[in-house]
Symmetry: C2
Subunit: 387 residues, 2 copies
C-alpha cells in the first residue's frame, strides 16, 4: 500500500520465508510462540485446531508473515474485538542493526521489569530492527459466529445502527464494517457477486462471536427486530453457516480487488472521528467531479477507520494534485490520522507532519539514529526526508 | 511497593494533584481525555455516569492518579478482560527532560503514522518523561455483573476450574482471582470478615460482566452446577446485588491490609507459567520453616500473576537473605518475571537481570541516556546501578 517493503534504490531484500516454524503453543494461556516467517493463515489453522484463534485477521492472510504483521502493526478485521498488537503481542526476538540478538521473547501476560522494549519494534516497519520471532496471545475460539448484512438509508443511520448494536450485542460484537453503494456496485460489476439485500445507499456487516449459540442468536435476533422495526435499517439478511458467512464477508473483503479492476486506484487509509467519517467521501466527490471515475468509502467503522479510494482510467498528475494535499489537510483539520493501519513506508514519509507534531518527528529520528546509526535497516522508509 | 515514588536522596517531588481536570469524553467511542492528576476512582465515576467504565481497576483507586497508573503500567483487577494499558491508552502528553512538550494526545483508535512514541512512557516509571495528560479507551459499562466465590480442594482443582470456567463463561468472564487458606485466615483474624463458604485449601473469585443479565446468569448457573457436581469445587456462593458483590470482593481486595496487620511483610509480585504458579509458595514454606510467621499466595490467576507474601514479627536481614535471591532465582528458573505489575522502582533495580538479558538492560540504559541525558527524571530508580 505504501511501498514499505519495496526496494527503491540500492536496498537488499531480506526474506524470513524459511523461518516458518511454530516454536510452542500453550493451550491453557493461549500463547503462541513462532518464527517471524510463519504465514498468518497457517498460524490460524494451527491454533484453531487447538480451539483458539489468532487475535488478528486480514484479507492478505494467505501470504502475509506474522513478523511483517507485527512490524507494520497490522489492524484488520478483528481489531474492534481483540485490540491492537501493542496489547496482544507478548514478546519479540529482534536482531538489531549491529547484529545483537535482543531476546524479549517472553510468553508472560504481565511483565513490568523495565521499559517494554518490544513496543519499539511493533509498527516500526523494520527500520529499528529485524523481528525474527513473535510471542502472541490468542483468544479462545468462539463457539458460535453469526454475520448480519444490512442496508441503511443514510450514513446517520449507519452511526445509529452502530450505537444500537453495541448496546444490544455488547461483548459478542466482533466486527462492524461498512461500505457505500459505490463499493457494492463495483463488487457486483467486476466480481459478479450478488447483492444479498435490496439496494441501499449504505451497507453494514455485523459479526458476532460468542460462547453460546442460543444466547448469541437471541441477542442478534432482538437487535435486528428493533433495527428493522424502527427503520434504522431497511433490509437485512443473517448467516449462521460457514459457507454463507464467507459469502457475506467476501462482499467486504474483496472490495480492494474490485477497485483494482476498475482502473488506477488512489488509496487513502484514514482515522477520523466516527461522526465525520463519511464527510470526506461526499466532499471529495464534489471536489473532483468527473475527473474521478469512482470515489468510494468503506472500512472498519467501529474503529473509526475509513478506506477512501478514488479510481480513474489511468494515473494522472493533475488528479493526484487535486487529491494531495487536499485529503491530508482535511484529515489534519479533523485531527485524524493520515495512516490508520497501512503505515508510512516510502510513499507517506513526507506527509507524517499532517498527523504528528515536529517534536514527535524529531524523537522518531533520534530513536532511529540510536538503534540504526548507519541507516542500514529499511532505508528511505518511514522517516521524513528532512526532520 | 517498590519505592518508585519515594525520594531517597536529593530528589524533588513533583505533584500533579492539581492537574485534575477531565478534558473530554466521547460517548460514541468511549474515549476519555484527562489530565494526569485525575484520581482513578473519580474518573470511574465520571465515565460510569455516561455508561462506560475505566479499563483498569485497582485496590488503590481512591488515591492513585491516572498519570501514575500509566507511568507504572498498572495491571489490576480488570486486566484479564480489558488487557494492558499498552493496548487501551490511545495517547499521551509528556514533558521531556529538556522541557519539550511532546503532544501525542490523540484520541484515535488506530494511528500508524510513525513510531508509537507513547509506548515508551507507559511503564517507564517517570524516568523518561513526565506524563501530563492521558487519552484512554473506556469499555461500555456492563449491564449485569455477577460474582461467584468458590472453595477448591487443591491447586490442581483451581487450575481445572479456570479452564472449565473460561470455556463455559467465554466472553463474559471478567476476573478470575485466587487466594489460599492462609490468606482467608488472615482476613478473618485481622479484619473480622466472614468466610462465605466452608473452609477449603483454596478459594476462587470469579466475576462475569455482560450485556444480558438472563444470559449471564444462565451461563454462570450451568458452570456452577457442573463445577459442584464434578467435585471441581467443594462449596460456592453467588452474588448478583451490588452490596454482596462488594462484600465478596473485599475478601480478595483487603488481603494486603490484613497482611500489614500481621507484622512485617516481604512482598513479591511474580509472573509465572500458570501451572507452576503455586509451587513457589509450597516450596518457600518448607524452605523458611518457623522463621516465617505466614507464607501466603494469592493473585490474578487468569493472568499468571502471583502475589507471594511472607510475614514475620519484624524485619530481619537473615530472613531477607533466606528469601533473596532464592525467590528471584526460582522465578528466573521458570522464565518468569520478578515484577509482574508492581514495577522496579528503587528496590528492584538491581534484580532486573533475573528477568531480562544484558542486551535488553543495555538498550534500556541507552534510551534513558537519549531521553534524559542529565539523569534528572526520577533518578536512582528503575535502571540497574551498573549496566
Amino acid at each position: 500500500m505504501v511501498g514499505g517493503s519495496v526496494p527503491v534504490f540500492d536496498e537488499i531484500i531480506l526474506s524470513t520465508a524459511l523461518m516458518n516454524q511454530v516454536i510452542s503453543f500453550d493451550d491453557v494461556s493461549g500463547t503462541l510462540v513462532c518464527q517471524a516467517g510463519c504465514v498468518l493463515e497457517e498460524l490460524s489453522r494451527h491454533v484453531e485446531e487447538r480451539d483458539f484463534i489468532m487475535p488478528l485477521d486480514l484479507g492478505a492472510k494467505g501470504s502475509c508473515h506474522i513478523g511483517g504483521n507485527v512490524a507494520t502493526n497490522a489492524g484488520g478485521l478483528r481489531f474492534l474485538r481483540y485490540g491492537s498488537l501493542h496489547g496482544t503481542v507478548l514478546g519479540l526476538e529482534v536482531v538489531l542493526a549491529d547484529g545483537t540478538v535482543l531476546n524479549c521473547l517472553t510468553s508472560l501476560r504481565k511483565d513490568n521489569t523495565g521499559y517494554d522494549l518490544k513496543q519499539l519494534f511493533i509498527g516500526s516497519e523494520g527500520t529499528l530492527g529485524v523481528i525474527t520471532a513473535v510471542s502472541i496471545l490468542c483468544p479462545p475460539k468462539p463457539k458460535a459466529v453469526n454475520v448480519a448484512f444490512l442496508g441503511c438509508p443514510n450514513f446517520a443511520g449507519v452511526l445509529r445502527t452502530f450505537r444500537t448494536c453495541r448496546g444490544a450485542l455488547g461483548e459478542i460484537l466482533s466486527a462492524f464494517e461498512f461500505m457505500d453503494a459505490a463499493c457494492m456496485q463495483l463488487v457486483e460489476r467486476h466480481l459478479h457477486l450478488a447483492r444479498p439485500v435490496q439496494e441501499s445507499p449504505f451497507y453494514v456487516l455485523i459479526e458476532t462471536s460468542g460462547s453460546h449459540a442460543g444466547h448469541d442468536a437471541e441477542k442478534l435476533g432482538s437487535f435486528l427486530e428493533h433495527a428493522l422495526g424502527s427503520g434504522l435499517v431497511t433490509d437485512g439478511t443473517l448467516a449462521t453457516d460457514q459457507r454463507r458467512i464467507k459469502m457475506l464477508w467476501a462482499l467486504r473483503e474483496r472490495i480492494t480487488e474490485a477497485l483494482s479492476l476498475d482502473g488506477y486506484v488512489y488509496k487513502y487509509d484514514l482515522s477520523l472521528p466516527v461522526e465525520r467519517l463519511y464527510d470526506i467521501v461526499t466532499s471529495l466527490r464534489a471536489h473532483l467531479g468527473p475527473r474521478a471515475k469512482h470515489v468510494v468509502g468503506y472500512g472498519h467503522l467501529g474503529d473509526g477507520n475509513l478506506h477512501l479510494n478514488v479510481t480513474a482510467e489511468a494515473f494522472s498528475t493533475s488528479l493526484l494534485a487535486a487529491l494531495e494535499p487536499h485529503v491530508y489537510e482535511w484529515t489534519a483539520g479533523q485531527r485524524g490520522s493520515i495512516s490508520a493501519e497501512h503505515g508510512v513506508g516510502f510513499k507517506k514519509r513526507d506527509v507524517l507532519g499532517y498527523s504528528k507534531p515536529p517534536e514527535a518527528l524529531q524523537l522518531m529520528c533520534q530513536l532511529k539514529a540510536l538503534l540504526d546509526p548507519k541507516g542500514i535497516l529499511n532505508p528511505y522508509k518511514m522517516l521524513p526526508t528532512q526532520a
